[in-house]
């Protein structure tokens, strides 16, 4: 069946039947200045041969650098079976098929994904995924405002230690919803959210508190204290977590005395390649009592007329195809294909395999930090325990150092200067389970040489001059 089944003749017949000259005239009510006109930035089509050449060039430009950058997207090993299976014809679609009668395999997979996510997070319910981690955080805040009917303030505490891109996305999505985002500072010694600063809001009407774990600096937050603070102050607690870390850390469903209300995050570490930043996968879980406020789709298990187990979309009565502008969300895109890969990844590794992977990444980062800190002018900045990332203070310009390392085919970390100028010259480094002893050793040697050279260089490099 052709994707667009109307021939020009069909279209003309329909237009004449309703007495309209052209399809464009059906959109007359949209003011001219809101129409985008021609899309000039989109180039003309290319032949297959041309596009192959272009793609080879692009791939070569990426190179195969040793990657020591994390900062929200992580270079983990992906077993070959994951994408071999995920791209089979039976699964290979970017969207959730709605028809239960035609899609039992996909629906079962989504159901299993939800089951795995609730097991990993310790929460009651999972939806079938959202767009990415940042938009999942924004959706969680909107959900918290809907769910917390006791609170009238619409004030949400957002730690500065939350991923900067997540904070910007949250700002973008909630800014026109009369929600007041209040930044919570981090403690400059530990790198964790400052509990004293939080206490300033005790007794105030706060709608929700966001709790990153680990936070952007890799540091492990005092999640029990934060969760309990939210509970005793009538705020909804929202955990923003790395799902792989949960295989070795306490799940959000067990934080504090009663667990968090909502848990969300980025699913990329679960078998999704870095691929220049996307497509990734947002996940969201919550307590049973909040399920009606949860955006997105949930797949449920049921029985058919013959008593056989079957799966179907459930709890979709509040979605946009039914509720239009009053839907719980109008951006609850389901990342079906990414969910397929993540589910296969989790099933292949199992809880034990994931815990091994997480522990290996933690250990590798420990080794990396130890090696790098043996260099003069390199030291850790924060004291808290970390998962698999840590902030290093370097006695040199991070921009120059990282550029020199990149010239040696090594991505040496994330420069924190632009987002956290208060930290001075600092980079965020990460070594996943993929990094070998040899790569770590080579990073140390290169950084040592570069730092030495820069320290001895009497001339300020040209690009550093004001």
């Amino acid at each position: 069946m052709p994707f667009i089944p109307h021939t020009e003749e069909d279209v003309n017949r329909m237009l004449s039947s309703i007495g309209v000259d052209s399809i464009e005239s059906l959109f007359d009510e949209i003011p001219e200045d809101l129409k985008c006109g021609d899309l000039d930035a989109i180039p003309a089509g290319m032949s297959e041969m041309e596009i192959t050449v272009l793609m080879h060039q692009r791939a070569a430009a990426d190179g195969q650098p040793d990657c020591f950058i994390g900062a929200g997207a992580y270079d983990h090993h992906i077993p070959a079976a994951v994408w071999e299976l995920a791209t089979r014809g039976e699964f290979y679609t970017a969207y959730t098929p709605y028809q239960a009668e035609a899609s039992q395999g996909t629906l079962q997979l989504l159901y299993e994904y939800q089951s795995m996510m609730t097991a990993l997070t310790g929460m009651d319910v999972s939806n079938a995924s959202l767009y990415d981690g940042a938009s999942a955080a924004a959706e969680s805040i909107l959900m918290a405002v809907r769910a917390n009917r006791k609170s009238k303030s619409r004030r949400v505490l957002l730690p500065r230690s939350l991923h900067p891109a997540y904070r910007k996305t949250v700002q973008t999505i909630v800014q026109h919803q009369k929600i007041d985002l209040i930044e919570l500072p981090f403690d400059t010694t530990s790198g964790k959210t400052d509990l004293d600063a939080l206490d300033n809001y005790s007794g105030d009407d706060i709608t929700a508190l966001v709790i990153p774990q680990p936070n952007f600096f890799g540091a492990l937050e005092d999640v029990d204290a934060l969760t309990n603070w939210a509970m005793s102050n009538g705020a909804i607690s929202i955990a923003v977590v790395n799902p792989l870390a949960l295989s070795i850390l306490k799940p959000p469903g067990e934080w504090g005395d009663e667990g968090v209300d909502i848990c969300c995050g980025e699913g990329q570490p679960l078998g999704i390649p870095l691929s220049s930043g996307g497509p990734y996968l947002g996940f969201m879980c919550c307590r049973q009592q909040h399920v009606r406020q949860m955006p997105g789709r949930i797949i449920g298990a049921t029985e058919d007329l013959d008593g056989k187990r079957g799966y179907s979309l459930t709890l979709q009565a509040r979605e946009q195809h039914i509720r239009r502008s009053k839907a719980t969300s109008n951006i609850c895109t389901n990342q079906g294909l990414m969910v397929t890969a993540a589910t296969i990844y989790m099933a292949l590794l199992g809880g034990e395999g994931m815990a091994h992977t997480a522990a290996a990444a933690h250990a590798n980062t420990g080794k990396l930090v130890e090696k790098l800190c043996s260099i003069d002018g390199v030291d850790t900045l924060f004291s808290s325990p970390v998962f698999h990332e840590r902030v290093l203070k370097i006695n040199a310009s991070p921009k120059n150092v990282l550029r020199s390392l990149a010239a040696h085919n090594l991505l040496g970390g994330y420069d924190l200067g632009a987002e956290y100028p208060e930290l001075g010259d600092a980079i965020l480094v990460c070594a996943t389970e993929k990094r070998t002893e040899q790569q770590i050793e080579s990073f140390r040697d290169k950084l040592d040489r570069i730092m030495n050279r820069q320290a001895k260089c009497p001339v300020t490099p040209k690009f550093d001059q004001p």
């Binding site: 009917r149 006791k150 009606r292 009565a317 509040r318 039914i322 509720r323 009053k326």
Partner: protein, 131 residues
């Protein structure tokens, strides 16, 4: 044909209103409305004590087909809500005018009550809507 008892008032948005004679009213949805919605699976009720204006969206009833807003037919303060519906939303299907009531309201403007439809007018309104 749906049941539309005399003695109650009705709103165009399919709520029924019972005047309790002491400045308070009880509000629910009509038999006709529950038939259109189908089996109800969840009811989100307003909070007792909140002040509301006529026409405010104050509750949501969710059926297997759709989630629909309930509008307050009158202005006033919510006195009580039917907690039974949290566990048994199907009470609205089984008994829309008795067990399935939604909330009670202390009204602030009695003239709003007089402006609502009686059973005959509502029956006609519901028929007109279907055609």
């Amino acid at each position: 044909m749906s049941n539309t008892p005399d003695g109650l008032k009705y709103a165009k948005t399919h709520e029924w209103i019972k005047d309790n004679g002491d400045g308070t009213v009880t509000v629910g949805i009509s038999d006709h409305a529950q038939e259109l919605l189908g089996d109800l699976v969840f009811v989100e009720l307003p909070e007792a004590g909140s002040d509301i204006a006529a026409g405010d969206e104050i509750a949501v009833v969710e059926s297997v087909k759709a989630a629909s807003d309930i509008y307050s037919p009158l202005s006033g303060k919510i006195l009580g809500i039917n907690e039974v519906l949290n566990d048994a939303p199907e009470s609205i299907n089984d008994s829309p005018y008795e067990d399935g009531w939604l909330f009670t309201l202390k009204i602030t403007d009695k003239s709003e009550l007089d402006a609502l439809m009686d059973a005959d007018a509502y029956t006609k309104h519901a028929q007109d809507e279907e055609h």
